[in-house]
């Protein structure tokens, strides 16, 4: 029987198997950041265990970093201390760190792919659930807890039970205005937040084949929001071209040899999956969430469903929304474009393209937070910064920012924020804040209108006008 992409990568990394138990899986790359690593470093130090393979670890500062005045000392004492610990731990253990201000600093899941650290066929982990992002390259990448961070420090391995396999296929052509974020929000809205638990997901079909690497990263990033530890897309020419010539990508002959290997990775035609779902691209429209988990999403043109369920009602009460209502025209005061889901250059190009020649509504505070120093530089180079600033948007410095509001970028109590991030949990963007997840296009349109707009209508109209002229 044929093997899946996941099987091929997994099987190539099994060191040993415990009878009736987990397997020892070798980890190629271990990414770390300031929040989930200090206790792991302490653990090893207390037990007098050295870091086994420091050159396979890359660190960045991202979760609690300020997005303004990064050249000044970090004001918050606890954050400053956590960042200092990371720097000390990396220095002591010879681990590469892209600290605040470094030209390669950025959100861990933006920084590693853009530097060519992420490659097909690898196993990658990080103490962050959105590590699934790197699966876009055909890598097995997943989030781990801090005890596991310590395990990888000590042995470059993890004890794991092989997950089951799931494939989500989306075929057809996406409608105008439908972005990768809409595709994944649509999938999660259909499958729910725990359909992927215990599974590793492969995304297949024309929609993903025709998607850019950045779009694929957006999709794989949110795999965890349906419970799947990771998501993967088969590496192809798009993948190889993206990696070629990046800082840490293999070069010349080594690159050609790697490509030859990477081409063997896609799922065999006769491989089978434990679970399969198939969707039609034509059914997908710009999406928006109305509740307090990412599965509570609807097309902007739809109304909130009417369900009699205590958890559903608790969620709507928190959001101050009513069953059966439409979210179109809801006034919105905060817009956030950023996070490891949507803070890459294409996301800002989409936003700038919409915003150009328009102006942000007076009631809106709009934060644009690039995923990395490199994305920030690109925004400036391409002239997008001027477009944003002319339109009244604030371009900040890179970091996780208002996605989890560990720094000062918090949405005030009771306020709605249309956000390109990945989680709309209660209080995620600040105590009492109400998050509405959407694509960068929907976020940009919301900022301009000061309220939620049905961008699918805008595109229909534009298309009609084009036909008429």
């Amino acid at each position: 029987m044929g093997k899946t992409l996941f099987d091929k990568v997994w099987d190539a990394h099994v060191v040993d198997s415990i009878q009736n138990g987990p397997q020892i899986l070798y980890i190629d790359k271990h990414l770390i950041h300031e929040v989930t690593s200090p206790q792991a470093f302490n653990e090893l130090e207390e037990r007098d265990i050295p870091i086994f393979r420091p050159n396979q670890i890359v660190a960045t500062a991202d979760h609690n970093t300020p997005t303004k005045n990064q050249h000044l000392p970090v004001k918050d004492e606890l954050s400053r201390n956590q960042l200092k610990q990371l720097a000390e731990n990396c220095h002591k253990n010879n681990i590469t760190l892209y600290d605040l201000g470094h030209q390669y600093n950025g959100i861990v899941h933006v920084m590693a792919p853009e530097l060519g650290i992420t490659q097909p066929g690898m196993t990658m982990v990080c103490g962050d659930s959105h590590t699934s992002t790197h699966g876009a390259f055909g890598a097995i990448a997943f989030g781990i807890g801090t005890s596991q961070v310590a395990q990888v420090f000590a042995s470059q391995c993890l004890l794991l039970t092989k997950p089951k396999s799931l494939r989500v296929t989306v075929n057809g052509k996406l409608k105008n205005g439908v972005l990768p974020k809409d595709v994944i929000l649509y999938i999660i809205s259909k499958l729910g937040t725990n359909s992927g638990t215990g599974y590793f997901c492969e995304y297949a079909g024309d929609v993903f084949e025709n998607m850019s690497m950045e779009g694929r990263m957006t999709v794989c990033n949110m795999s965890i929001e349906m419970g799947a530890r990771g998501g993967m897309i088969a590496p192809d020419q798009t993948t190889f071209e993206y990696i070629k010539d990046r800082e840490f990508a293999p070069k010349d002959e080594e690159f050609e040899n790697k490509v030859a290997y990477w081409k063997t990775l896609p799922t065999d035609a006769d491989a089978t999956f434990d679970k399969e779902y198939v969707f039609d691209a034509q059914d997908i429209e710009p999406m928006i969430t109305y509740g307090t988990n990412p599965g509570m999403g609807i097309k902007i043109s739809e109304h909130i469903p009417v369900l009699n369920d205590a958890s559903f009602e608790k969620s709507l009460e928190y959001m101050d929304f009513q069953k059966g209502e439409s979210l179109v025209d809801k006034p919105i005061n905060y817009v956030f474009i950023g996070s490891c889901t949507n803070s890459r250059i294409e996301d800002f190009r989409v936003a700038a393209n919409y915003i150009k020649g328009k102006h942000k509504a007076d009631n809106v505070t709009a934060w644009l937070v690039p995923g990395s120093k490199q994305v920030e530089a690109q925004i400036i180079d391409e002239g997008l910064k001027d477009i944003f600033e002319t339109a009244g948007f604030e371009l900040r410095q890179p970091g996780c920012s208002a996605c989890l509001a560990m720094n000062d970028d918090k949405i005030p109590q009771g306020e709605y924020c249309v956000s390109t991030s990945n989680r709309n949990f209660e209080g995620r963007q600040g105590q009492g804040a109400r998050t509405i997840l959407a694509s960068p296009l929907v976020a940009a349109a919301t900022a301009v209108a000061g309220k939620i707009v049905d961008v699918s209508k805008a595109f229909e109209n534009a298309f009609e006008k084009e036909l008429m002229s």
Binding site: T146, S147, Q156, G198, S311
Partner: protein, 196 residues
């Protein structure tokens, strides 16, 4: 890691589905560099309002409920991989979490901290929640060796699954690092054998 064999305790019912780790421990409390003190902020924004007043409607604040077992709704621990959630629950005093479904990363984190996730059927979860609500003094008995959970004084019992390796670790207080370090030679041999 602390050993776990059996536990008899009262339980706190928390009949909410999809409890994510942001609720168990909000991100603003993740700035510590050790594992201590997270229990004080477990379920912080559900236990207290923004002004710091106790939310008396929340089951953890209800004086009629107590115990080291939390009985929670479906899909417990979804979202962020933060192990701080497990540290917060252990710090608060929980030793067992019962639910009809656990998120993957949380489950692993719990087991790595001697916190036992007990997955029961939806029907049995309903029974447990109703029994505890009807009589908050109800005691539950969790037996890891025999992989059973039951209500004291009742024959309503259910068995639960746990990976045999993890079970041994819990019972003996072992952790994965010990095991992985014992495999160092195999790991080094694997590194040398790789071609891709």
């Amino acid at each position: 890691m602390e050993k776990f064999t059996t536990l008899q305790s009262r339980a706190i019912p928390l009949a909410i589905e999809n409890i994510d780790t942001d609720q168990i421990i909000p991100a603003r409390f993740l700035k510590a560099t050790d594992k201590q003190g997270f229990g004080d902020n477990a379920f912080r924004d559900w236990r207290f309002d923004k002004r710091g007043n106790l939310n008396t409607d929340f089951p953890l604040n209800d004086p009629k409920y107590t115990g080291s077992i939390l009985v929670a709704g479906d899909n417990f621990g979804c979202g962020s991989s933060r192990e701080h959630a497990a540290w917060a629950l252990v710090g608060y005093g929980f030793k067992v979490i019962v639910s009809s479904f656990f998120a993957d990363i949380f489950k692993g984190n719990a087991l790595n901290n001697g916190l036992l996730p007990v997955q029961v059927s939806e029907a049995y979860l309903e029974t447990l929640l109703n029994t505890i609500k009807a009589n908050p003094e109800t005691e539950l008995i969790v037996d890891l060796e025999n992989q059973t959970i039951g209500i004291k004084g009742s024959d309503q019992q259910e068995s639960f699954e746990i990976d045999a390796y993890k079970k041994t670790c819990m019972i003996n207080g072992y952790d994965d690092i010990d095991y992985l370090l014992s495999k160092k030679e195999a790991i080094e041999a694997f590194e040398l054998s790789r071609t891709n």
